[in-house]
């Protein structure tokens, strides 16, 4: 009797369960594709055109939509959840549908002329400390910027050098020098941009100098000569005039039919480089590195005896400004010979 009862109860429970599942289960011929990261479902089943035409359109669309939504919701409810401030939050996977980007992939900035040179020579950037000791105010100040240490724009007195013209204004001279440095820097920045863009880089041309050298004068003359409508084609030559150096090369081509042996060797050389697994030795770079290392060693040796000098009066203090730089260095990264 009891066994029968149990069987009956179990059957009832199973029936209930099936009933419940019936509420939320939907049958489809082809399975839906889901992209839960975008809350997206794609139903590849062709819509029933016959039913669509016969039935009320809105009713048909709504029942189709309901079934699909139920399937999508069933999928979403299987995601892992967590409780955030009284709300149940499902963690979504990354979107799997690939969509076009809005803007192109960012390109790395092209190296500047200095960066290229530094790489060739093996020069590495050195980190400077942010704070330096200011002798005048007797405190640690920023190396650069507002309220900086050793600010030479705030000088109220400048000594006139013995060689300078006594009537010259030393203050305005400093300001002018600074402005020129800024202008030069800006010009170099623009040249770097043009170089990175593979554009034509305008030459710096002739910059005014106080005492032009012989080369400068020669260059100036040639620039003036070429500045005619016909690019200096019909200008007469002066007696004993020399062709300026570095005025551009004319391209030279090898003859079409010529030295077969040399050509063969050239091709073989290329194949050899391609075939070998080791990168080709850049002699220039290697030599540069070697020289650099030797230089560094020599300077390190020279500096060793004066280990206590260098930073001078600040040496004894242990403060916030003291960074990883060794004691032997003064200000700036300039190498002194």
């Amino acid at each position: 009797m009891a066994a029968l009862m149990i069987e009956h109860v179990l059957a009832q429970a199973e029936k209930d369960e099936a009933e419940k599942l019936k509420l939320i289960s939907v049958d489809k011929e082809l399975e839906l594709q889901f992209d839960l990261g975008n809350l997206l479902a794609i139903d590849p089943n062709p819509a029933d055109v016959k039913a669509f035409r016969q039935q009320n359109r809105e009713v048909f669309l709504r029942s189709l939509a309901r079934d699909n939504t139920q399937l999508l919701i069933n999928q979403l409810w299987t995601l892992p959840t967590q409780r955030v401030e009284e709300a149940v939050v499902a963690t979504l996977p990354d979107p799997s549908t690939r969509l076009p980007r809005e803007k192109p992939i960012p390109k790395p900035r092209a190296p500047t002329r200095w960066e290229e040179f530094a790489k060739l020579k093996g020069i590495k950037k050195k980190k400077k400390t942010n704070l330096v000791w200011d002798e005048v105010s007797k405190e640690w100040r920023r190396r650069w910027g507002y309220k900086r240490a050793n600010d030479n724009t705030k000088d109220w007195l400048i000594e006139v050098p013995a060689t300078a013209d006594p009537n010259e204004d030393q203050f305005s001279k400093r300001v002018k020098a600074k402005k020129e440095r800024v202008a030069k820097n800006e010009l170099n920045r623009l040249r770097n941009l043009a170089r990175a863009d593979k554009g034509k880089i305008p030459g710096v041309g002739l910059t005014p100098t106080e005492q032009p050298s012989r080369d400068d004068l020669g260059k100036a003359m040639h620039v003036a000569k070429r500045s005619t409508a016909s690019a200096g084609r019909f200008q007469d030559k002066l007696p004993k005039e020399k062709e300026p150096k570095n005025m551009g090369k004319k391209r030279k081509f090898q003859p079409l039919l010529g030295d077969f042996g040399a050509e063969k060797n050239k091709q073989l050389e290329i194949l050899k480089v391609m075939d070998s697994k080791k990168p080709k030795l850049d002699v220039n770079k290697a030599v540069n590195r070697q020289m650099r290392e030797e230089d560094a060693e020599a300077s390190a040796k020279r500096k060793k005896p004066f280990k206590k000098g260098g930073r001078g009066k600040q040496g004894g203090k242990k403060g916030k400004g003291r960074g990883p730089v060794r004691g032997g260095k003064g200000q700036g990264g300039k190498r002194r010979k």
């Binding site: 309901r66 699909n68 939504t69 919701i73 409810w77 076009p100 803007k103």
Partner: protein
């Protein structure tokens, strides 16, 4: 951004930040949309644009004035607008005798038109005309595409991708399950596309997953496809390119078999058997002289290292 844009440097931190925000990025912002009203727009078209605005609201701009332009003939003005408002999705609404109640859906890549699809509204019911309560603004919708045309037809496939791009909203890592209130259903039957917008009602089903009932919320469109302007394969491929930094790196020396067991390959150096510790017997012990020699050698090595 071309190199020319960098010639003039930003003067303030703020403008620099602004430019950086607009520039290309590894992980992109969510795309924003602009809705442009054409020179001649009927009441229906204007209302449709307003409704799309309501659906897309936080990341959307509505250009409400007349804009005498035809994107299929001349794309420059759309590109200009996109550059101005930093939007890469657009809808252009117009109405004329040849193409009544016209909506052009499109997207841009690098401020140039990628895809454009012209859809005619055959039937349109506005958001206002459904007298019921709506879901809150900025709700991320569930998107469902039904019909085999979305798989078979190239134009439809691209349109599907465009609609996903258009309506998916912000990319999020998690979502509140009770907040899934809005559903957009696109059905392709009989050569037409039916876009319906429903409010999702969750009913108790007895188990954890709720039973779903739908209530139409509007707007609803019956679209027919008119002209299309799809990106060439090259351009499309270029726009789909993913940056290397974003792609997951392949892990070396790890493999899985069919059962999902993880295998690792370990590289070992050859063991020096001369230094192996064996039984400790007095006979095998090193003599003091040997020990000293060994230590001395070790020290010189150390010194060399430190130099």
């Amino acid at each position: 951004m071309s190199a020319l844009d960098k010639v003039v440097k930003p003067k303030t931190r703020r403008s620099k930040r602004f430019l950086e925000q607009r520039g290309p990025k590894l992980y992109e912002n969510d795309k924003s949309t602009m809705l442009i009203k054409g020179g001649n727009a009927s009441n229906t078209v204007t209302q449709a644009l307003k409704d799309l605005y309501a659906l897309k609201k936080p990341s959307c701009v509505l250009y409400n004035r007349k804009n005498m332009t035809r994107p299929f003939e001349d794309q420059t003005s759309v590109e200009f607008f996109s550059k101005k408002s930093d939007c890469s999705l657009f809808v252009f609404g117009s109405h004329n005798k040849k193409r009544p109640n016209n909506l052009i859906f499109g997207r841009l890549y690098d401020f140039h038109v990628l895809d454009m699809v012209e859809l005619g509204m055959e039937k349109y019911v506005s958001l206002k005309d459904f007298k019921n309560c709506k879901c809150p603004e900025g709700t991320k919708p569930l998107l469902i595409f039904a019909g085999d045309a979305f798989e078979m037809n190239e134009d439809y496939r691209r349109l599907k991708s465009l609609f996903i791009d258009f309506f998916r909203g912000p990319t999020v890592s998690g979502i509140r399950l009770a907040g899934l209130e809005h559903m957009l259903h696109f059905t392709a039957v009989d050569g037409k596309i039916y876009m319906r917008s429903y409010k999702v009602l969750m009913k108790k089903s007895g188990c954890r997953t709720p039973r779903i009932e739908l209530e139409e919320m509007g707007p609803s469109f019956d679209f027919v496809m008119r002209r299309t302007h799809l990106a060439s394969d090259d351009l499309y491929k270029l726009s789909m390119k993913r940056p290397k930094a974003v792609q997951a790196k392949k892990k070396k020396n790890i493999s899985h078999d069919t059962f999902g067991t993880k295998y690792g390959r370990i590289h070992m150096q050859k063991q020096d058997l001369g230094k192996l510790q064996t039984r400790k017997v007095k006979a095998l012990k090193k003599r003091p002289a040997e020990k000293k020699a060994a230590e001395g050698e070790g020290e010189t090595n150390k010194r060399r290292k430190s130099n």
